[in-house]
Amino acid sequence: MMDHQETLELLPAFADQELGIVETQEVQRHLDSCPDCQREYAAQRIVSARFKKDAIYFNAPPHLAQRIGNALPPEPARAGSRRFSWISLGGALAAGLALVLGLGLYLNLPSDQERLTDEVVASHVRSLQVDHLSDVVSSDQHTVKPWFNGKLDFSPPVVDLAPQGFPLVGGRLDYLAGRPVAALVYRRAKHPINLYIWPSNERDAAPQLQNHQGYHLVRWTWDGMNYWTISDLAANELQNFVGLVRSTVRQ
């Protein structure tokens, strides 16, 4: 049997659900019969919840990514560069620049997909600016969904994933690929996630992950709808989110 002092010491981990099954059960057993520990446990939970709710999350300003990108050392030239090692630095730079420009011109004819990626990133970044995230602020899917009525020519599926750790925070009208689209806003630990939905006449397509300007994007097509989601979350967390959306939308 766990004694009082041991239990007190384990309470933070108990509150954070970081204990193993056996220890959790022992702490619970002591807690049931000890008002002191109950008070201490409640205090831990209150402070923790208040911190989560009220502490500021400082998102990086947009120019910081740019600043870091500029500060990183330039890429060494790829195969074939050895032939040029005798060229003066200036010459090499000029050649490199010409190569980059040439490639740039060649590669700069973006496909529709690339253009759309740029649009989605731009829309996401714009949405993070003050007052742009949501037009309708609600964690209730039954408020968000009707809000789109009359504003769109389709009805986007709106699912709540709060129990799974991705609470819905609102919705917004946006404009992508030359048409109005639904943008649903979710959060994960204060990281905003934008989920864009609009009708598609293409075949179903499995989720595809890509990385653009430091953001992760996943797009897929299912049952006549295009889905694009973007966030600064880690790739696996965003994919987890996509999995949840997909399994919930199907129901």
Binding site: A13, D54, N59, V137, Y215
Partner: protein, 182 residues
């Protein structure tokens, strides 16, 4: 097919964690300007060591570097402060106005309602010693596990637990008078 370069791999794996890095740096430095400098320096270091990184938890790896970079920077600041002790305007460190930093929540209504509560909490957190502040930010805001925090800070898991427990207690004690007022 081209193999992605080191820089491309770095940008795909490490750059997406910029917000986490910046958030932690802000909480440690208590200044957006200093946080930007620390984060940039940390990214340059991370790039240098990137070849040696083979794990899959690039966020925890980056935060370890951000934290180390911060402590190096902090020690230099302390030294400079001692050397320029008479120049009061130079580094008035405690006076940084955190309330003036941009809020993450963009909704003005919630902002207004939360402002008082947030300000109280913010001030209480600033009063908390660094060793408690950092584990609390990693746990409550970044939702890292005890194991991840232990690896980042370089302490045993038991110490993570006791720091969180004591940190929360301290915070509750600082906040208690304010709660009675309300």
């Amino acid at each position: 097919m081209l193999v992605p370069t080191k820089k491309q791999r770095f940008q795909a794996n490490v750059l997406p964690h910029l917000n986490s890095a910046f958030n932690l740096a802000c909480w440690l430095t208590r200044s957006r300007q200093d946080a930007e400098d620390v984060v940039q320096e940390a990214y340059l270091r991370a790039f240098k060591f990137f070849d040696g990184f083979h794990g899959d938890d690039s966020r925890a790896w980056l935060l370890t570097i951000v934290r180390n970079t911060f402590y190096t920077w902090y020690q230099e600041q302390q030294k400079q402060r001692q050397e320029t002790a008479f120049d009061e305007e130079m580094h008035d460190f405690g006076a940084v106005d955190v309330a003036g930093m941009a809020f993450a929540d963009n909704n003005p209504e919630t902002l207004l309602m939360q402002k008082d509560s947030e300000r109280q909490l913010q001030q209480a957190l600033q009063a908390l010693p660094l060793e408690f502040r950092e584990v609390m930010v990693m746990r409550e805001l970044e939702e890292l596990s005890y194991k991840q925090i232990a690896a980042i800070v370089g302490i045993p898991i038991g110490t993570v637990m006791s720091r969180l427990g004591r940190g929360r207690k301290l915070l509750a004690a600082i906040l208690a008078p304010a709660r009675q007022e309300a």
